[in-house]
């Protein structure tokens, strides 16, 4: 009876894994057949397919879109029969997958010379514990965007003090001088970095500079009071797209919608914090290709050929032109068409100050901890010191529990 039960359970597990995988890379496929999971928009994948058809014609590459890519990888990443060979995703999960043991370092798979032209910020992002785990393709950062019909050229703020003055003069009658997702960790991080602080350091220490974080929270509160209490992405996005907010800090993904909505869009450098002389420094997300261990060991030549093709500046140019992506390869910005793209160039400029999202596993808990801290301070009006102490204690508890 027990044996029957075991067989039944094993069968059930196999069926579940098969369902997760769809088409997989793994041992069943040929050595020149590569399956790549992704969660990207069609324009990005089309550009990659068109480019690879020319650059690596002998490879049989299948792109497979996964809505919950990271969850699926956690389930089947160690199973060559269900896992892909490679996947395209942001760099911030590298630590999780490296610790799971499913990622292959790419140092031995790509020529070191091919990495020389990558923007340093993108290589920093792709490195975990001194090992490179991702070939960066392009990156995203938040940008300071404004409606040129409301925020006139002489009003675009160079400093946060000027931004505050603008907000005070231009908020009322159902409209806002500036809006952002003020109580979301991803957006608030720019303000914390502008005060020299950080949410977590590379060793996994939460809020390593407590004073900087508390100063940022106290200063940011003046701006929060001039913004809607509702901090959801949909609210902020809608206010800006409907012309009810003059300026915002948002991602490049907002740009096509803003242009479609008839917004005369301007993009400006991030304002500098008067007190520190440092700019608001948003997180950056570096999108790149990751190699799973099985593929690195069993399809080595195919993987090397693919990575060599993707390290070429030509694909970065294609992605920039097709989808407004900011290429990781610095040489792409010399292309005349890319040089004319205001949005791409703005992200290139922001790359100088942007902070790569931490890619260590401990960051997973900090999103929630920081979100709660922001809610307490910005939305519930709680004392900054007490809220910070509670958040720090919670972070330490959760990180200890992870170990």
């Amino acid at each position: 009876m027990k044996r029957c039960l075991s067989i039944l359970l094993a069968l059930a597990m196999l069926l579940a894994l098969a369902a997760c995988g769809g088409e997989s890379g793994g041992d069943a496929a040929g050595a020149d057949e590569l399956v790549i999971w992704h969660d990207k928009e069609d324009a990005v994948i089309q550009a990659l397919q068109d480019y690879l058809a020319q650059a690596a014609p002998e490879l049989k590459i299948t792109f497979e879109k996964k809505t919950s890519l990271t969850d699926s990888l956690k389930l089947v990443g160690n199973d060559p029969s269900a896992a892909p060979d490679l996947f395209i995703f942001a760099h911030d999960k590298i630590g999780v997958f490296a610790e799971m043991g499913i990622l292959s370092p790419i140092g031995g798979l790509v020529d070191a010379a091919a990495l020389e032209d990558m923007l340093p910020m993108t290589l920093d992002a792709a490195t975990y514990k001194d090992t490179l785990y991702q070939l960066p393709l392009y990156f995203e950062t938040l940008l300071f965007m404004y409606n040129q019909r409301y925020m006139l050229p002489d009003s675009v703020p160079a400093t946060t003090g000027e931004l505050l003055s603008y907000m005070q003069a231009n908020t009322g009658r159902g409209r806002y001088g500036f809006v952002e997702q003020h109580s979301t960790a991803y957006y608030s991080a720019a303000w914390i970095h502008g005060f020299g602080g950080s949410i977590i350091d590379e060793n996994g220490t939460p809020f390593p500079d407590a004073g900087a974080v508390k100063d940022a929270l106290a200063y940011h509160l003046k701006f929060v009071r001039l913004m809607p209490g509702e901090t959801e992405y949909n609210t902020v996005n809608t206010l800006f797209l409907e012309g009810k907010a003059d300026a915002t800090i948002g991602g490049p993904w907002m740009v096509p919608s803003a242009r479609e909505a008839g917004i005369k869009l301007g993009i400006a450098p991030m304002p500098t914090v008067d007190a520190t002389g440092m700019p608001l420094a948003p997180y950056s997300g570096v999108q790149g290709i990751h190699v799973l261990k099985f593929a690195a060991e069993n399809k080595t030549e195919a993987v090397k050929e693919l990575l060599a093709a993707l390290a070429d500046p030509a694909i970065g140019v294609s992605l920039a032109l097709a989808s407004g992506c900011a290429p990781a390869n610095e040489k792409c910005y010399d292309d005349p068409q890319v040089a004319e793209d205001e949005l791409v160039q703005a992200m290139r400029a922001t790359a100088e100050i942007a902070v790569p999202m931490p890619n260590i596993p401990e960051m997973d808990v900090m999103w929630t901890v920081t979100g709660n801290l922001l809610t307490d301070v910005n939305l519930s009006g709680k004392d900054i010191d007490a809220s910070f102490d509670a958040a720090l204690a919670q972070a330490n508890d959760l990180i200890s529990a992870m170990k």
Binding site: A19, C20, E41, D42, K65, T67, S68, Q148, R149, Y150, M151, L152, A169, N170, T171, G172, R173, G174, R175, Y233, N234, N237, T238, L241, E242, G243, W253, M254, P256, S257, G262
Partner: protein, 341 residues
């Protein structure tokens, strides 16, 4: 001979029909013109102190309303007559309610004679008296069809005025620049009425100081919403730009082994989601194997999923604002239709 007569008669008939055909083609335009020229009669009301911005709600005994929505048409003050306001209503009106202070104060229903000017005196209570006798010797201004103009203006403008005229003859709607002072309404819009014959306007701020004004704006004779930006450029719309987009219904048919189907919907490429978290909202089972759900009208992308989000369609691009029917054959195959299959 018979044949010749027949041909002759046919020709005469055709010639007779030609003007009728031409008339038939003109008929809708005439009807529209007639509709424009509905007989209007004046209702004059004397309201007590404290009744600000009086409006008139009016209807016929058969329930036909004269105006679209409560509190009805804003009444105009009669020049030089304190507390006296007038408003024109279609001649079919047999009942009115005078109200004020954004509809928070009102009379009971007041019966009036259809097609006749009515004079109403509103007491401090909700009662009112109506009479055929004039309350003043001042002449009621002639009926002029008016349109509403709504203006959304820079925050630095503390007051907003509207200048209107007919081009090219140069007839002005108001006596002196900067014209009608607009009143602040909900959601930051300023509103006022101008004669429908005006085809040019200028919106100005702070009494027109420092050249705070738009250029000459050409308009159609319809209610309009003008947004004036800080750079003094403008957009004119003939539908309320703030009007919420209505929800639409998504119908879906899914394979038998797709349990508890859900809908995930968003606006691409900005990524605004209709629901808080994956897998979205559960669909409701209807007759005939269909499931339905209401989604915001602005979404343009949909995923139908089931089994707690473990099985799903690919991203389905859909037309915003349209009711749609999705037939899911399997995870890779789904058909979208805009009419019930």
């Amino acid at each position: 001979m018979k044949k010749t007569v027949a041909v002759f008669l046919a020709l005469v008939m055709c010639l007779t029909l030609l003007p009728l055909t031409a008339l038939a083609a003109e008929a809708p335009a005439e009807e529209a013109e007639e509709a424009e020229q509905v007989e209007m009669v004046a209702i004059v009301a004397k309201v007590p102190a404290g009744w600000e911005d009086p409006c008139l709600w009016a209807w016929a005994d058969d329930g036909t309303n004269a105006f679209e929505a409560w509190p009805g048409e804003e009444m105009d003050p009669m020049e030089g007559e304190e507390g006296l306001y007038y408003c024109y209503v279609p001649a079919f009106v047999q009942n009115v309610i005078v109200n004020a202070n954004k509809g928070t104060m009102q009379t009971d229903a007041i019966a009036v004679e259809a097609g006749e000017t009515a004079w109403i005196t509103v007491e401090q209570t909700i009662t009112a008296e109506t009479s055929a006798e004039a309350l003043t010797e001042t002449e009621i201004p002639e009926y002029v069809k008016k349109i509403k103009v709504h203006a959304y203006v820079p925050l630095a403008w503390e007051s907003v005025n509207l200048w209107a005229w007919a081009d090219p003859d140069g007839t002005n709607a108001f006596d002196t620049w900067p014209g009608l002072a607009l009143k602040e309404e909900d959601r930051g819009w300023f509103t006022g009425k101008i004669p429908a014959w005006a085809n040019r306007i200028i919106v100005s701020g702070n009494e027109g100081e420092d050249d705070e004004k738009t250029e000459d704006v050409t308009i159609e004779p319809e209610e309009l919403w003008i947004t004036v930006y800080n750079d003094l450029t403008y957009d004119v719309a003939y539908e309320d730009p703030d009007k919420a987009v209505e929800d639409v219904t998504v119908h879906a048919q899914v394979p038998e082994d797709w349990a508890d189907p859900c809908c995930w919907a968003w606006s691409a490429p900005d990524g605004t989601n209709a629901f808080d978290a994956w897998p979205g909202e559960a669909l409701t089972a209807e007759d005939g194997g269909w499931y339905t759900i209401q989604v915001p009208g602005w979404i343009n992308s949909v995923i139908i999923n089931a089994n707690e989000g473990s099985v799903q369609t690919s991203d389905l691009a859909v037309e915003p604002g349209s009711e749609l029917w999705i037939t899911v054959t399997d995870a890779e195959n789904a058909q979208v239709a805009y009419e019930a299959p």
